[in-house]
């Protein structure tokens, strides 16, 4: 009898393996749940880190807020899930999070092999190096033989290896699983330099006990377009996240911000404005959202420029004329028309 039960168990086990995952659309799931589950770093100032009130703030966190406002009408309906670099894609493809907004670089391999889709960019970054000011180094090429703290499992690690290999320089990587770990390693003297995206280095410097002890080297050795990522196979959700970012940028182009959005909706004669705030056209319903999706995002979170000013500027990364400025002002932040 006992053996019979075992066989039954084995048969049941086989049965389970054939059942495949249910496929409700992400939009339906989010709306049914009433909250957006958003994967963030949780430890990088300016992108996603808790403020003094314990609320997650930063460029990546605000991106989540804007999506929640567009989809659910409430920017506070977000549950942030802090993830390490190594966990992030698995969490996304396993369905633990709806959108990954964790300073993630868009690369071909990730796009093609990980079962994810990249949407658009909320910050264009590049990899830099930071060293102790007292060491008097002036270039990355001076780092021959140095130990370098790096967050393992990132494109940063690969760019560094490529750069040093290309230049024929030697180095020793000291890999930590978190950004906080790399900072502790640098401050503790485990390495001579630290490498990461330039914005993250600024964030790390702002969190050291004495920021003036550290200085950035001039070279930027890579392109790091960062932005939210979604699961592959749900085109509607991909469109929603992509166009929420576009709406924030478009709003800035048109001069719509969180303080004047009501007035613009009621008084602006510009049809482009009318289409964004939802008083004209069918932009929201085409995406499967309500008519006021972009209005809610702009009203509750602000346009791209406002978010940048609130989150990235305090790190000391100026926007004017940089790549992260609007295309019309010399940057490359550009949005297709919303119509």
């Amino acid at each position: 009898m006992k053996k019979f039960n075992l066989i039954l168990g084995a048969v049941a086990l086989i049965g389970f393996t054939f059942s495949s995952a249910a496929t409700a659309s992400t939009l339906e799931e989010v709306q049914a749940r009433g909250t957006l589950v958003c994967g963030v770093d949780g430890g990088v100032a300016g992108f996603a880190a808790p403020n003094n009130d314990g609320r997650m703030v930063g460029m990546d966190a605000s991106t989540c807020d804007a999506i929640a406002a567009a989809v659910l009408g409430d920017a506070n309906a977000v549950k942030y899930v802090p993830l390490t670099a190594a966990e992030r894609f698995t969490a996304l493809s396993a369905g633990e999070i709806d959108v990954l907004s964790r300073n993630t670089t868009h690369t071909l391999t990730r796009d093609a092999t990980l079962g994810v889709n990249f949407t658009y960019y909320n910050f264009i970054d590049g990899q830099g190096f930071m060293v102790a000011a007292a060491d008097g180094l002036s270039s990355v090429d001076d780092l021959d033989g140095a130990s370098i703290c790096v967050q393992s499992g990132t494109t940063t690690e690969l760019n560094m290896a490529d750069y040093f290999r290309n230049k024929g320089l030697d180095f020793t990587p000291v890999g930590y699983s978190t950004s906080v770990g790399t900072r502790e390693g640098l401050e503790g003297g485990a390495c001579d330099a630290i490498t990461s995206d330039a914005s993250q280095l600024a964030a790390i410097r702002s969190e050291t006990s004495n920021p003036s002890d550290w200085t950035m080297l001039p070279e930027i050795i890579s392109k790091e377009p960062l932005g939210p990522v979604v699961r592959q196979g749900d085109d509607q959700w991909l469109d929603i996240v992509t166009w929420t970012l576009h709406a924030l940028i478009n709003a800035e182009e048109l001069g719509i911000d969180s303080s004047n959005v009501d007035e613009m909706r009621d008084n602006s004669p510009n049809p482009s404005v009318a289409r964004i705030v939802g008083s004209e056209g069918e932009t929201g319903p085409s995406l499967g959202l309500s008519q006021d999706w972009a209005y809610q995002a702009i009203k509750q979170v602000g346009n791209y420029g406002e978010i940048y000013e609130r989150t990235i500027e305090p790190l000391g990364i100026a926007r004017a004329g940089s790549v992260n400025d609007l295309w019309s002002r010399g940057g490359i932040i550009y949005s297709p028309p919303i119509r």
Binding site: K3, L6, I7, A10, V11, L13, I14, T17, F18, S20, A21, A85, A86, F89, T90, S93, T109, R110, A112, T113, L114, G115, L143, D144, G145, A146, S147, S152, G153, T154, E157, L158, M160, A161, D162, F164, R165, F171, T172, P173, V174, G175, Y176, S177, G181, E184, G185, G188, G189, A190, D192, R231, Q232, G233
Partner: protein, 392 residues
């Protein structure tokens, strides 16, 4: 073959064999279809699973690889796996050896009659056994070693050894003359063999005459004297590469990175607290009568410990200590927090993240740890069988 009185399908042995075979088949089939379904589902979501990445060049650098050479731009992913495995084994072996010695020492203190020693051992056990291991690893790395060891330019010097916040820099031997080196190695091995023969002879002599010799110290001094004199007679076939201070850190020689020490210390101290308790349990399991009997036939204290207490207590100590060894090996994967490049860090974290081959990489990591655990328990179970009571 004896003929069974039952027909084949009534024969219980035959039926049992059929059921067993069917069960084994079903289990394997279940695993196989689980694998197939997972691969299919991953493919559905646009994630391809294939071991073809093994032969691709790893696009990142592994800093600590004492057994295999890592060269950026030629080393493949599969070699990164081997490097990770060897680094895990290195810290596991170091940790097991150190934790065993420390654990026995603390365990013996804990069972001694000296009030102070007993209490010190008790405090040691209670502190380190009850603190999360990850915390201890980070404590050693960030609060002790990084905080107290100097930067490379003010390294502590011990002869040709240099200690700083990056790790320990050691001289490494370089074979200058390969033939003479082999001759020297042969001489050393010969001297070790000779000392084993001597040990046998001493044992036979002891059994025949009852006269004992200090075998261990004689053997050791014999081996050391022979190796050193042969080394000089053969004209020093080895030279030493001494580390030299470069711009950032020492160059040349060998380097043991700081995280290795943090991990080794934390694993040793944490595990030794558990082993100490096993040892205490073992010692108190030896019945009082045995000790009294040993005293009554006039054994000295050290003879009593060596010949009466340890052999009997080992029967109690070994089985729970096996699982501590297994724990230590598995716990080494917490190294990621301090940047030691063991198999979970370089394979299940970095390689996985760069290739996305989760299924293969995680399966290989699991199989490796499974293999380690089974191998360790196999070895220790053999030892355990040898020391268990042989009933006549």
């Amino acid at each position: 073959m004896s003929k069974s009185p039952l027909t084949l399908h009534r024969n219980p042995k035959f039926r049992a064999a059929i059921v067993q075979a069917a069960l084994v088949f079903l289990v394997f089939y279940a695993f196989y279809s689980l694998y197939q379904t997972t691969v299919f589902n991953l493919e559905e979501r646009g994630i391809r699973t294939s071991p073809s990445f093994f032969d691709q060049v790893a696009p990142f650098k592994v800093g600590f690889s004492p057994f295999l050479d890592f060269e950026l731009g030629t080393t493949t992913y599969i070699k990164v796996f081997y490097i990770g495995v060897l680094n895990t084994l290195l810290v596991a072996v170091l940790g097991i050896i150190a934790a065993t010695f420390l654990g026995f020492f603390i365990g013996i203190l804990r069972s001694s009659n000296n009030w102070l020693a007993k209490k010190v051992a008790l405090i040691y056990v209670e502190i380190f056994r009850n603190m999360p291991l990850l915390l201890q690893i980070m404590f050693w790395n960030f609060a002790i070693f990084l905080a107290f060891l100097p930067p490379p330019k003010q390294s502590l010097e011990f002869g040709s050894f240099f200690l700083n916040g990056r790790g320990l820099h050691t001289p490494v031997p370089i074979v200058e003359h390969s033939l003479l080196f082999k001759v020297w190695l042969g001489v050393v091995i010969l001297s070790i063999l000779l000392s084993f023969i001597f040990r046998r002879w001493a044992k036979i002599r002891f059994n025949n005459t009852g006269k004992s010799l200090p075998v261990l110290s004689i053997s050791f001094s014999f081996i050391i004297i022979i190796s050193i004199s042969a080394f000089y007679i053969l004209g020093q076939p080895l030279t030493v590469d001494i580390p030299v201070l470069g711009k950032f850190n020492f160059k040349g020689g060998g380097q043991l990175p700081l995280p290795l020490f943090s991990l080794w210390f934390a694993l040793t101290i944490y595990t030794s607290a558990f082993i100490a308790e096993n040892v205490r349990a073992g010692i108190s399991s030896v019945s009082k009568g045995q000790i009294e009997a040993a005293r009554s036939i006039g054994l000295t204290r050290s003879q009593m410990v060596k010949m009466i207490i340890i052999p009997q207590s080992m029967r109690v100590i070994i089985p729970p200590t096996i699982s501590q060894y297994l724990n230590l090996t598995k716990n080494s994967s917490l190294a990621m927090a301090v940047g030691y490049e063991e198999v979970v860090a370089v394979w299940a974290n970095i390689s996985l993240n760069q290739t996305g081959q989760a299924l293969i990489i995680i399966a290989m990591t699991i199989i490796f740890f499974e293999f380690c655990s089974l191998f360790t328990s196999f070895i220790l179970n053999m030892y355990n069988k040898r020391i268990q009571i042989t009933e006549r």
